[in-house]
């Protein structure tokens, strides 16, 4: 698989949104898990590469969901199960 990103993916990300997004949206966000923290939604899980991350953020934008935080937490150890 071609990786324009110099760092090997996938990486785990943690994305925090304002408001509660129904769990059924998980497909829309490439299978990230959806959890809640008070009035916020946390999308968590591995994201294949930078391009996938930007694609995901655009989806967030297009739903008019205020974005509070994006953080990369850890490497999944190079295991790639997204094909």
């Amino acid at each position: 698989m071609k990786k324009p990103d110099s760092s090997p993916g996938p990486w785990h990300y943690w994305i925090k949104l304002k408001g509660r997004l129904d769990k059924q949206w998980t497909d829309w966000f490439d299978g990230l898990t959806i959890t809640y923290e008070n009035d916020t939604t946390i999308l968590k899980g591995p994201i294949a590469d930078q391009a996938a991350l930007y694609g995901l953020l655009i989806r967030v934008r297009d739903l008019n969901l205020p974005l509070l935080l994006v953080e990369r937490i850890e490497s999944s150890g190079g295991k790639n199960d997204y094909e």
């Binding site: 071609k2 408001g19 509660r20 997004l21 129904d22 059924q24 949206w25 497909d27 829309w28 009035d39 939604t41 934008r61 297009d62 739903l63 008019n64 969901l65």
Partner: protein, 923 residues
């Protein structure tokens, strides 16, 4: 390219019609529930005086509706362009901008559209400049709206917008709506007060607007308390308020609904959509969900997808109910959903009926195919995951696409197609490589080409679900030709790198392998081969001529007007360099006429046709007629912001001024070119030409010091390996050595240069070299050989009618020509095969122009006193003696000598005397 039909009579491929074009240009009309927004309209009215209005806010903030209201209320003509993802291709994008501008003035962009018919080679800037020049003809202020600009990700398209903003005429204004700020030089426009921004905080509904919307427009009769609750819950988000309104329609206890609303902490869009949907009759719900997969909706398309018969009626009903649907034309044959709304619907469809989704796409692709709309069909085929059929269609479209301008979606499709479908078809690999190359991803392009080559070499070709034998046969037949296409891509790569031997190698391979009918691929290969042998390449002119004439024939057959212009121009330049001035003069005249007729005369490259014609006229001693052509060429190239062409035209101007004897003028143009090169890097062949031009002018001025410096700086020596690129510089070196009376060294280099020029038929330079050799012999008092060389130069030059090249040789050449005239007729005829009439014509040009004897480019004429001083200097008096003789102080003499040196551009008393004699100031 998506413009409907080509008027071109040569057009070969059947171009699918694009009835959807207008839908992207349709100016939306405000809905009947419009809440007027005078404060924002005022902001727009003020803002439109600036270059750019940026309306930047998330989905559902009423950006488009605001503009539709403004357009209805203001007087300024507006062009509208709704962007979709396929507009990420620069050519495609420009095509739509052109089409949009045409809604304001129908004759705009004619030549831009002609240019767009060309698949490659045209600098996109040329097209834009054409468009900008056309837009200047719109007499009053107008605006161009680019809606949904966030869909643009391509840097090239962002560059186009930046370019437009920097160069568009004053009366043009750009309005961009987007969900995220575009990567444009926004801060610069802000600081120059050229930008008006309308952002989410401006767009949200105020309490008054919310009240007006719910209670006057929709007559819902809500209390102030309810309204403020709705407002705080939606934070003024208009789509949210609209969804809320739809949810409440027909509800008795609206207040109760609003209260429940308070406790809901779900994503509000999601929640409200559910509410809205649940209020609709079941058949409406189904309709909305099933048609959500479509980007655009028409009655029959929706019939096909929903398998019902009343879809058009349904669409009109939905529009009346304000269900987030907008017409895309006046006839109401096409509609689209609000993007946010269709996004929510799609999500719901995927959850509720995931199995139905491929089936819906299947129905959509069939409808598109039945209606001849292959491009849209491919999108649905890919969504349906019917890759086999998608691959076949992409293969077909990629084949015709290049012939009629690049279709943008190819790269997008290739990335949606699983690798195995591409890597099992050599043809798809080649097309993918071509797109990747044009997109700048050379590594990936190379990999695809290698894949294709491996497949073509191996006897077995595998492809999922198909018999390998059949496929082997399919590509076996066209194996050679496919290899030819790979060579074309390799040629393009080599050309970007300026690797001339590789260009020659691959383009030859390509031309050998490609079928005669494979016009576009052949024309690219032939043009590249021509350049590789032409003035910017190895200078093998007969080969360049052959290649360019093939490129010209192909372009004519293919009706490709731009490549035809390029090939014709190149061909005639090559003819000129081969000394056929008379023929090329007529051909350039004809070409200029053609470009003026087709409107192509305003693209930068066309400027060089004028400059070449002007140069030819000057060479034939028609300077007064030629100069205006050169100046026109410069004007066109500069207007077209085509720096390379402009510099090329300036070289012609310098040469013409030199011929005219206006060396001061020539030097000031040289300085202008120098200034250009400080901001713009010339290609190597051009910087060599610039150095040589300087040398020519300096030598003519007798400025040997600067010439010597140039020779040093350019590292020129008589032992250099010779190449066409450095030929002009080497010629200057020869001339310099002759001036320095280093005849043997000069001749050593001359002989080699002559051989090179002869081998490659570079007649124009050969004539100069032979004249120089005649001068070299003349300096050695070897008149016999001098005459011999000049005779050869004359016989090479007579068919073309060169005049001024000889005149620039100065008095020795005149003397030699007189001697030739004095010879017996037998000698002139037999030995040189030239006519006496020709020699006489050159000699009379000497007399009428009195070259370098009258107007030798003194910055300022010498004063009477300075001439007196100069006479004494020449007579060998010291400064002290001069002071005494003229009754002036020593200091004054020094001032005079200093001024004399400056005016004559020399550095010593001896040089001053010599120069003054040369110029005829002193006897």
């Amino acid at each position: 390219m998506a413009i409907r039909s080509s008027k071109n009579k040569y057009s070969r491929s059947k171009i699918p019609q694009f009835p959807l074009l207008e839908t992207k240009l349709y100016v939306p009309t405000p809905p009947n529930t419009l809440v007027p927004r005078p404060r924002l309209i005022e902001q727009l009215n003020k803002g439109i005086k600036r270059k750019l209005v940026l309306i930047s806010a998330p989905a559902g903030f009423g950006k488009t509706i605001l503009l539709s209201e403004w357009i209805q209320k203001n007087e300024i003509p507006v062009a509208w362009f709704s962007v979709d993802k396929s507009d990420n291709d620069p050519l495609h994008f420009v095509n739509y901008i052109t089409a949009a501008l045409r809604t304001i003035k129908a004759d705009i962009g004619k030549s831009a559209q002609d240019l767009l018919k060309s698949p490659q080679l045209i600098p996109i800037q040329s097209i834009l400049i054409n468009l900008i020049n056309d837009a200047m003809s719109i007499p009053k202020d107008f605006a161009v709206v680019i809606d949904d600009y966030h869909l643009i990700e391509s840097k090239q398209v962002h560059d186009i917008i930046s370019f437009l903003l920097d160069h568009m005429p004053q009366q043009m204004h750009l309005i961009i709506t987007t969900r995220s700020d575009p990567p444009l030089p926004i801060p610069r426009f802000r600081s120059q007060n050229q930008l008006t921004e309308i952002r989410a905080s401006d767009l949200i509904f105020t309490t008054d607007e919310t009240t007006l919307f719910f209670n006057e427009k929709l007559n819902l009769g809500l209390s102030l308390e309810d309204i403020s609750l709705l407002e705080s819950r939606t934070e003024g988000w208009i789509a949210g308020l609209q969804l809320a309104a739809l949810s409440m329609q027909g509800l008795k206890d609206k207040s109760g609904f609003i209260k429940t609303f308070k406790g809901i902490d779900r994503y509000i869009g999601d929640y409200l959509l559910e509410e809205v949907l649940s209020r609709q009759p079941e058949r409406v719900q189904y309709f909305l969900l099933q048609t959500s997969i479509l980007d655009r909706l028409s009655g029959t398309l929706c019939d096909a997808v929903t398998q019902k018969k009343d879809s058009l009626q349904m669409l009109i009903t939905l529009e009346k109910a304000n269900l987030f649907i907008f017409p895309l034309d006046n006839e109401r044959s096409w509609f689209r959903y609000h993007h946010l709304f269709s996004g929510l619907l799609r999500q719901r469809l995927h959850q509720a009926q995931p199995d139905l989704v491929p089936e819906l796409h299947h129905r959509a692709h069939e409808w598109y195919l039945n209606n001849g709309l292959k491009y849209e069909a491919i999108d649905h085929l890919l969504a349906e995951r019917h890759f086999e059929k998608a691959a076949d269609l992409i293969e077909e479209i990629a084949g015709i696409d290049w012939d009629r301008g690049r279709e943008s979606k190819l790269l997008q499709w290739f990335s949606a197609l699983p690798d195995e479908y591409i890597s099992s078809s050599p043809l798809l690999c080649i097309y993918h490589a071509r797109e990747l190359f044009e997109d700048g991803d050379w590594g990936a392009a190379e990999m695809r080409m290698q894949e294709a080559e491996r497949m073509l070499e191996s006897t077995r070709t595998r492809r999922k679900g198909a018999s390998s034998d059949v496929l082997t046969q399919k590509y076996e037949k066209s194996k050679v030709e496919l290899q030819g296409r790979i060579s074309v891509i390799r040629t393009m790569m080599a050309s970007y790198k300026g690797d001339i031997p590789k260009i020659i190698k691959y383009s030859r391979q390509a031309l050998k392998a490609l079928r005669e009918e494979d016009l576009m691929w052949r024309s690219v290969a032939a043009t590249m081969l021509g350049f590789a042998h032409g003035w910017s390449g190895d200078g093998n002119l007969p080969k360049a001529e052959h290649a360019f004439s093939e490129a010209k024939t192909i372009s004519e057959a293919g009706g490709n007007i731009f490549t035809n212009l390029l090939a014709s121009h190149s061909l005639y330049v090559i003819e000129t360099y081969q000394g056929r001035l008379k023929q090329s003069k007529e051909k350039f005249q004809e070409l200029i006429h053609l470009t003026e007729e087709s409107g192509l005369s305003r693209i930068g490259v066309a400027g060089s046709n004028y400059a070449m014609l002007g140069y030819i006229l000057c060479e034939m001693n028609n300077i007064e007629e030629g100069l205006p052509y050169i100046k026109r060429g410069i004007q066109i190239a500069e207007l077209g912001r085509d720096t390379i062409t402009a510099v090329g035209c300036y070289f012609n101007l310098i040469k013409a001024l030199y011929y005219k004897g206006d060396l001061t003028g020539a030097e000031s143009i040289l300085q202008k070119v120098e200034k250009i090169t400080r901001e713009f890097t010339l290609p190597p062949w051009m910087s060599h030409a610039l150095a040589a031009t300087k040398g020519i002018i300096w030598l003519a001025k007798g400025n040997q010091d600067d010439t010597a410096r140039m020779i040093r700086e350019q590292g020129l020596s008589i032992d250099d390996e010779l190449s066409q690129r450095r030929e002009a510089e080497h010629t200057v070196l020869v001339h310099f050595l002759i001036e320095q009376k280093r005849i043997d060294e000069a001749d050593q280099l001359l002989k080699r240069l002559i051989k090179e020029a002869e081998n490659n038929n570079r007649i124009i330079i050969l004539i100069q070299l032979k004249i120089l050799r005649a001068l070299a012999f003349y300096k050695k008092d070897d008149l016999e050989h001098a005459l011999d060389e000049l005779g050869q130069a004359l016989s090479l030059a007579e068919p073309g009618g060169f005049i001024l090249t000889f005149v620039m040789g100065g008095a020795p050449v005149a003397e030699l020509l007189e001697k030739i005239l004095g010879m017996k007729k037998y000698w002139i005829d037999k030995k040189y095969s030239i006519s006496r009439a020709y020699v006489k014509r050159i000699l009379s040009a000497f007399k009428t122009r009195a070259p370098l004897k009258t107007d030798f480019g003194l910055v300022e004429p010498l004063s009477e006193r300075e001439v007196e001083v100069l006479q004494l200097i020449a007579a060998g008096f010291t400064n002290q003696e001069i002071a005494q003789r003229l009754y002036i102080s020593l200091n004054t003499v020094r001032t005079h000598t200093k001024n004399i040196n400056t005016k004559l551009n020399v550095h010593s008393r001896t040089q001053a005397a010599a120069r003054a004699k040369e110029l005829g100031i002193l006897e």
